[in-house]
């Protein structure tokens, strides 16, 4: 899609060269400056975080990433627990949010009665406007007790003794931990993914779907063979918008994740995330190494996000090669 867009704009530029060449050139410069500025800003942020965290990286080396001890008294810092907690909670969030969001988007574009589409769409967009601290408080006061009383005992009774997944669901049901945080995060990212997915789905040219209907396709076949293949790169973009939000979410996670620097296989146990650790500890980080370690943690969030995004792009490339380009 990007390539065709670029060609289009090149075409437009060449036809207008005589009339508004100066204005066009200025416009090009301004847009280019805006785009490059973002890149510059990103680079500068990453660099200054790396610079701020250099003491931590120099002191601990690779152990800063692989170490699981976080001990301010003895000045030993390892980021494994927050990295693990961030990745696990975000993964749970996506596992919940992606199917639900795509379902919402599909319902709104194809299935829902026409009059109900706009109100539901607006309601979903408004969900995205709820401050994250509200989700956090709801999570702590209402959802966590519910998880502790109803969901987690069931999970540890029925799944806790199973062979492979057992360790994931063992431990006391306290309601605060990675599973609860992941579910709350999932609810928080649904509006982001659903809104973009709805826009993309409604951009699928009607003739494509109509031909599928004419060939006798069911709704499911239209979704899986026409809509999703046609929109997959935009949908993956939407998923990554949600993932970015989940990786960096701070307040809501702080409330329900437990803020404990403990490495545990069980999803029912408390853990920590990078953003929550920084928010909790930055104000009272009074040694040079402690502060540097927290900034280094921020840098690692950059790196983690970058790696995850790269993997996604590579996946997208592979899918495109498999299917061949459809547009």
């Amino acid at each position: 899609m990007n390539a065709t867009l670029a060609e289009d704009s090149g075409l437009v530029a060449s036809t207008n060269r005589k009339s508004g060449a100066g204005a066009d050139r200025a416009f090009q410069l301004v847009t280019a400056a805006a785009a490059w500025f973002v890149l510059l800003l990103l680079g500068a942020t990453a660099l200054s975080m790396a610079w701020g965290g250099r003491l931590a990286f120099k002191t601990f080396g690779w152990h800063f990433v692989t170490g699981k001890d976080w001990d301010a008294v003895n000045n030993v810092f390892g980021a494994l627990v927050p990295i693990y907690g961030t990745l696990v909670t975000s993964a749970i969030a996506l596992i919940i949010a992606v199917p639900v969001s795509i379902g919402i988007a599909l319902f709104l574009t194809d299935i829902a009665p026409r009059w109900s589409r706009a109100p539901i769409a607006v309601a979903i967009e408004l969900l995205a406007a709820i401050p994250s601290i509200i989700y956090g408080m709801w999570g702590l006061f209402i959802f966590a007790p519910f998880m502790a009383a109803n969901v987690e005992p069931w999970l540890s009774d029925h799944l806790g003794s199973k062979a492979i997944i057992g360790p994931l669901f063992s431990g006391p049901p306290i309601g605060i931990g990675m599973l609860t945080a992941g579910i709350v995060l999932g609810i928080m990212v649904i509006p982001f993914i659903a809104t973009v997915a709805r826009e993309v789905f409604s951009a699928v040219p009607p003739p494509l779907k109509e031909s599928a209907v004419a060939l006798g396709s069911t709704r499911w076949e239209i979704l899986s063979r026409v809509t999703l293949p046609y929109t997959r790169s935009a949908i993956i973009g939407a998923v990554f918008l949600g993932l970015g939000r989940a990786l960096g979410e701070t307040m809501a996670v702080t409330f329900v994740l437990g803020n404990a620097h403990d490495l545990s296989a069980s999803l029912l146990m408390p853990s920590n995330s990078i953003a929550a650790a920084i928010a909790n500890e930055f104000t009272e980080a009074d040694t040079e190494l402690y502060r540097s370690s927290l900034i280094a943690l921020g840098f690692l969030l950059f790196v983690v996000t970058f790696i995850v995004l790269t993997i996604a792009k590579l996946m997208l490339l592979r899918i495109n090669r498999q299917y061949g380009r459809t547009h």
Binding site: D71, A72, V76, I174, G175, D262, N280, A285, D286
Partner: protein, 345 residues
């Protein structure tokens, strides 16, 4: 949380009184803006004092409760007129930065529990027991070591969920300082600090975070400032003091700890009151310390700050009591005033 609400009217008063300053004797101080930063623990009482002080013609006090670490950093950098910290600085650190230090108010840190069926003040705990529970050595409420000192109580056979502070805090410093004094394994293990490496458990942000988790999680154990116990009607445990008595947290037991602490021999008041010796002394009493530069850049603002703390020490006691803090004993106040006179030019 209630403390915050109490502080709000005080702030409003501060703002309202900006215009009618200087109706009495201390005209020289009015119009001066004193800024301070630090401990969140002392914020409610400090802002109440500031409002009263301003009402009586004193200087306006602008205090930012950004945390002890931030307060120390800012007063060292000279960006504020005074700092407030829950963890006293050592004398050489003070000398290096040319700072004077003295306590202004006393409070206490209280173990709170949420065990269904057990009321406030019924459960007895000792310091070593607390250390073992927080280290994960004692896992269940009906552990023989707990049952032994609580013969009449029906303790359930369930796991203890420990709750600690997730942010660095003076509360944690005083709590772990106490545990280090009474438990050798704690001292050689997690040690003392504003944040330590906890074994298991859940971390809550701020006193309100810990209080919230303890109320949410059945069979949990946490530690919070005394005011949160009173305002949230939490179920506190009795704690055994150095003299062997089990004492409840109260203004009297904190005052007993402050009175028996050896302030006379503490250079620059560098003293943490945990594990005080008195028969009725509460074992985890804590105080907040004010840091003032010895040679201030702005003399007018510094003397206004000193006047404010003199006012607070001499006349702020009732206000402190109302907000569930404990005033300093009289001999200590006299010692502080002569210290200020001798140290700040």
């Amino acid at each position: 949380m209630n403390k915050m609400f109490l502080a709000l009217p005080a702030l409003a008063l501060l703002a309202a009184c900006n215009s009618k300053a200087g109706n009495e004797s201390s005209n020289a101080e009015s119009g001066v803006q004193v800024t301070g930063a630090g401990s969140t623990f002392v914020y409610p009482v400090l802002s109440a004092w500031a409002a009263d002080h301003k009402n009586q013609g004193g200087a306006a006090i602008n205090y930012q409760s950004i945390g002890s670490g931030g307060g120390i950093a800012q007063v060292k950098a000279g960006t504020v007129d005074f700092g407030a910290t829950d963890q006293p600085l050592a004398s050489d650190d003070l000398a290096q930065n040319n700072l004077a230090q003295f306590p202004v108010v006393v409070g206490g840190i209280v173990p709170v529990v949420n065990i269904p069926g057990i009321e406030a003040g019924k459960l007895k705990l000792t310091g070593p027991l607390l250390a073992d529970i927080y280290q994960g050595k004692i896992k269940n409420w009906n552990d023989p070591a707990i049952v032994k000192i609580n013969p009449g109580l029906n303790l359930p056979n369930v796991a203890i969920s420990t709750v600690h502070r997730s942010d660095g805090s003076g509360t944690t410093f005083n709590f772990t300082h106490y545990l280090s004094q009474v438990s050798p394994t704690w001292k050689s293990g997690p040690g003392e600090g504003k944040t330590v490496a906890w074994t298991g458990g859940v971390g809550g942000k701020g006193n309100e975070g810990v209080a919230g988790y303890v109320k949410q999680l059945p069979n949990s154990l946490g530690y919070v400032e005394y005011a949160y116990v009173v305002q949230n009607k939490m179920s506190y445990a009795l704690l055994q003091n150095a003299a062997g008595n089990f004492v409840a947290p109260s203004a009297d037991s904190f005052a007993a700890a402050a009175a028996t602490a050896d302030w006379k021999n503490a250079k620059d008041f560098n003293l943490v009151m945990t594990n005080a010796a008195g028969a009725n002394a509460y074992p985890i009493a804590a105080s907040t310390f004010i840091l003032l530069p010895k040679q201030p850049k702005d003399r007018a603002r510094s003397s206004a700050a000193i006047a404010f703390f003199k006012y607070a020490l001499e006349h702020g006691q009732d206000q402190a009591k109302k907000l569930d803090y404990v005033p300093l004993p009289d001999p200590l106040v006299q010692q502080i005033e002569s210290y200020i006179g001798a140290n700040i030019k």
